[in-house]
Structures are given as structure tokens and as C-alpha cells.
């Protein structure tokens, strides 16, 4: 069911996308930081995916971003992954192309300190106001 989406990604981006199919309903696509906005925009504007949410994780390789695109017309979820370098992870915000990313990116900034450049309202969203500005609850730095 996600075959068409995978073919489109391959034909548009070639080997800039590293595609792994967990099963017929779950696809994971790894891209570089430079290709992040082109691929996520493609998922929204061309493939008409719906951004369900995004998972940020502090892993040994860096800060991993995983944007989950629900493909309601195909009944699958296509996940776009990239890894940002610590200690100051930074990437362009998707919000100006896709407003749904607004709160989602604010949450990742709040908990992991990722700077989303161009975000219209880059404030923390859930943390208490009395926490220090550089407090990010899910960071594992010492």
C-alpha cells in the first residue's frame, strides 16, 4: 500500500533517501539534515501526508528527529528520520510550510533543546516557567 509513496520518494530523491520497510504499513526513511525540509515538504505537499506528531530522542549518535506522516489514503505511516549534532542541535522549521508542525516542534525544543530556525513562536510549551531557559528534561548530557 505504501509502494507508490516509496517509488515516488526514490524517483524524486534517489539515494538521498535510505528506505527501510518494517512491514507493509510502517516505513522508515533516513535523510541527511540538508534534505530534511525537501523530503518533509514532499511528504506533505506532494504525497498529502498528515503530520501525526514527531518524536525527538537523545541517542548516542545525537538528537534523533522522527517525523511521523500518516498516509490516511493508504492506511500506512511513513516516518522521516534525521540525526542532529549535539550540543546545539539545529534544523530548519517545517512550520512555515505546514502549520501543524508549530506545537510539535515547540515540544521538541522544550524537551531536547533543538533550535528550529524560522519557527514563528519558539517558546517552550509544557515546562514550568520557573525552570532555567537551558533546562531540557530529556537531554542526557552530563
Amino acid at each position: 500500500m505504501s509502494k507508490q509513496v516509496i517509488e515516488n520518494l526514490r524517483s524524486t530523491f534517489g539515494d538521498r533517501v535510505d528506505i527501510s520497510e518494517h512491514n507493509e504499513r510502517r516505513v522508515y526513511v533516513t535523510v541527511s539534515n540538508e534534505d530534511w525540509i525537501p523530503v518533509t515538504r514532499h511528504m506533505y505537499e506532494v504525497e498529502k501526508g498528515r503530520l501525526c506528531t514527531a518524536t525527538g530522542s537523545d541517542r548516542s549518535t545525537g538528537i534523533e528527529l522522527l517525523y511521523h506522516f500518516g498516509m490516511d489514503q493508504h492506511g500506512t505511516v511513513v516516518n522521516i528520520r534525521t540525526t542532529l549534532d549535539k550540543p546545539f542541535p539545529k534544523i530548519e522549521s517545517l512550520t512555515k510550510y505546514y502549520p501543524a508542525a508549530d506545537f510539535i516542534e515547540r515540544e521538541i525544543f522544550d524537551f531536547l533543546g533543538v533550535e528550529f530556525t524560522g519557527h514563528p513562536d519558539p517558546r517552550k510549551i509544557l515546562s514550568s516557567h520557573d525552570r532555567p531557559a537551558d533546562f531540557h528534561a530529556m537531554r542526557r548530557d552530563e
Binding site: 510502517r26 500506512t76 506545537f103
Partner: protein, 390 residues
């Protein structure tokens, strides 16, 4: 000249702005700012210290009204990672409880919406009709909410056959009561005056903001995970997705009212076709990897992502409740509307009750002008005015 109006709730007036602050010019709302975090308990970090079974119980408490949804989505995510599904009987049982939850959640919303626009009878009736659904849930799972019943591989307790005839009877009564309410709501010119043409969210905005559930379906966005990525027994039941094109408060209300009737259909079919057999497939091992589970909760998609590392605990568990994506759609909805409609417009996305509590209006000097209690009073005043002038 613009002023900022705090929408206060049943809540004391405080110095800082609260959950939602409205900027107002006279009676018209210019914009709304939303501040979250009062229910932030650090669940994603807590989940990393729970086993998979315990995790399903933890996530029920993300939101009390859709506890089954989060629990089922978590179980689905673990099953996705493990490559093991539930038993056929479990699929049907899970669907029954999920739809019962949708019934009590939508009827709760009917009551709250009634309260906000000043129809206390609707509030009392809605909550009265909810009670048999909670009794059914208690008979099946052991609790009125927070069921501790969904688990990876199936469900924890079977349901004795003697319960089903009474539940079927309650479903017929619920459908009758719902039909009565639908007739009363759609016939009442004052309720129509409060809801029709108010708080419009266009289809383009609904898609751009990523809105979910009835909030999106009321703007013509035809998405429903139960049909789009069938889980449970939905593919085996005959039911319809309810979509309304107008995008105003009335359209979303109609979606919720009609969805209750569809849920009754689904529950009855599941009971009639319930397969026998085991209620749980045991999952002995969850290999290293990742899994995603998402379900159509009463408010929209509940999404769970789990990363596993071969142990019996999640390495990372991302949880996203539907209201998180529906809340930003409040801003385009309320812009240009009057402050007496501000609370009912917010209530249309069906946030958790405690979210409706947290509205505040603040003036440019930082002082509160009105709290949520005041704004609800303004809403009641508008209804009274309409009653006299329609």
C-alpha cells in the same frame, strides 16, 4: 484599541495569564494565545521505567476520558514492534470497549456544551444517559474509567456471555435517547442561533493545522483511522464515517451526535458476531526495533511510538493525544468572533474538561479583566438574549 481578555475558568483569578488569553477589540476577538503545561507530569520519561504491561496502564491516565484509546494504541505499538497481533476474540472485545468509551465521551461533551450555552437540562440529561454506558464498562472491565484491561496481545479479562443481553438493551435505549437529543438540538432555534455559522474552520485550515477527529470531520476532512487503517473489528462491521462540510460549530456537533448512533451499530454487531477462543496471545519477546500504534479516540487520533531494545521496557515512548493538535485550530476559529462565543468555540474541539477550565483574559496592563466563569456567564447571557429576540 485592543484589550486582552483572560478567559478564566472555575478558577481563582491569578496574576499571570492562564491557559488561553484573548486579545479583544471591543467585543471582537482579534487573537488567542494558548499556554499549556498544567497537566504535564512527565509521562514519557516515566514510561521508560515501566514494563510493557505496566506502560499500558500508565498511559490510560494521559486523559481520563479516552483511557481505552491510549491503552489500545500502546498495545498496538508493542504488537507492531513484536510482530504479534491480538486474538480474534480480543479484537472484537477491544472494539466494544473502545466504542462504549466513544459513547460516554461524546455524551459527556453534549452535556458540557449544553452547560456552556446555558441549557442545563441538556447537561443533566446528557450525563444521565451516560451512566448506563459507564455501568456497562464497569461490568466488562471492572472500572468505570481507567480499565487496566488492554494489554499487549489482547485483553486481560474475558467477558461472561450473561452480560451481553443487558448491554444490547442499554444500547437500544441509548440510541433512543440520542435520537431524542438530536431532534431537540436541531429543532431549537436558539441552539441553532448559537452554533450555526459560528467559529468556522475552513477545510484548508483544518488540513494545514493537522486537526483530527470530529473537529476535522466537521470541516469536511474525510479522515477516520477506523476506516483508513482498520484495527480491531472495524473492517468487519457495517458503519459510516460521519463528515459534515460547513466547518461551523453546528457541523461539528452534528458529527458527534451522529457518530454516537454509528457507535451503537458497531457495538451491537460486535456483540452479535463475537468469536470464541482465547483473549490473549502471549508475547514472549519484543525484539530490538520500533513500533507505532494509533487509534481513533473520541477526539481524534491518539498516536504512540515505541522504540524497543530487546528488554521488557520501552527505550522511548512518544505519546500524542489528539487535543494537542486540535487546540491550535482554536485560533483561526475564534478570530473575528465575539467574546460571548469564545468559550463555546473552545468547547467545540472537545478538550478535556480541565482544559475548558483554563481560559483567561488579560488587559494590556497585565490585569485580568474576566475569568472563565465570567466568560461562561457572557455565553449564558447571549443565549438569554437570543431566546427573547428569535
Amino acid at each position: 484599541m485592543s484589550t486582552t481578555i483572560p478567559i478564566g475558568p472555575f478558577h481563582p483569578v491569578l496574576e499571570e495569564p492562564e491557559y488561553i488569553t484573548l486579545q479583544v477589540d471591543g467585543e471582537t476577538v482579534l487573537s488567542a494565545d494558548i499556554d499549556l503545561g498544567r497537566i504535564h507530569r512527565g509521562m514519557e520519561l516515566l514510561a521508560q521505567e515501566k514494563t510493557f504491561d505496566q506502560d499500558c496502564f500508565l498511559v490510560e491516565r494521559i486523559c481520563g476520558i479516552c483511557s481505552a484509546s491510549h491503552s489500545w494504541a500502546t498495545a498496538l505499538a508493542i504488537e507492531d514492534a513484536a510482530g504479534v497481533g491480538p486474538t480474534p476474540r480480543a479484537r472484537y472485545l477491544r472494539t466494544i470497549v473502545h466504542e462504549l468509551e466513544r459513547l460516554h465521551s461524546h455524551m459527556l461533551w453534549v452535556g458540557l456544551a449544553g452547560h456552556i450555552i446555558g441549557y442545563w437540562t441538556v447537561y443533566m440529561w446528557g450525563w444521565k444517559y451516560r451512566e448506563p454506558v459507564l455501568d456497562a464498562l464497569e461490568a466488562i472491565t471492572g472500572n468505570r474509567n481507567n480499565y487496566a484491561w488492554y494489554c499487549p496481545g489482547g485483553v486481560r479479562r474475558d467477558v461472561p456471555d450473561e452480560l451481553w443481553p443487558e448491554i444490547m438493551k442499554q444500547m437500544d435505549e441509548f440510541a433512543d435517547n440520542t435520537n431524542m437529543l438530536i431532534g431537540a438540538v436541531l429543532d431549537d432555534p436558539v441552539i441553532l442561533g448559537r452554533l450555526k455559522g459560528v467559529g468556522i474552520l475552513t477545510k484548508e485550515d483544518a488540513i494545514a493545522y493537522g486537526t483530527l477527529g470530529p473537529t476535522a470531520r466537521g470541516s469536511g476532512v474525510d479522515i477516520d483511522l477506523r476506516r483508513d487503517e482498520p484495527y480491531g473489528a472495524y473492517a468487519e462491521c457495517d458503519w459510516d464515517v460521519i463528515v459534515q462540510p460547513d466547518g461551523d460549530l453546528l457541523a461539528v456537533s452534528v458529527v458527534r451526535l451522529l457518530e454516537m448512533l454509528e457507535s451503537v451499530k458497531i457495538i451491537k454487531q460486535c456483540i452479535q458476531n463475537l468469536p470464541g477462543g482465547e483473549i490473549r496471545n502471549e508475547i514472549r519477546e519484543v525484539p530490538r526495533g520500533e513500533g507505532i500504534g494509533h487509534v481513533e479516540a473520541p477526539r481524534g487520533e491518539s498516536f504512540h511510538y515505541i522504540r524497543t531494545n530487546g528488554t521488557n521496557m520501552p527505550e522511548r515512548h512518544k505519546m500524542r493525544a489528539p487535543t494537542f493538535l486540535n487546540i491550535p485550530s482554536y485560533r483561526p476559529r475564534v478570530k473575528g468572533e465575539t467574546i460571548s462565543d469564545a468559550t463555546v468555540i473552545f468547547a467545540i474541539i472537545d478538550p478535556c474538561y480541565s482544559c475548558t477550565e483554563r481560559m483567561a483574559a488579560i488587559d494590556p496592563t497585565g490585569k485580568r479583566i474576566a475569568n472563565g466563569h465570567d466568560l461562561i456567564k457572557l455565553s449564558h447571557q447571549k443565549t438569554e438574549w437570543l431566546k427573547k429576540n428569535i
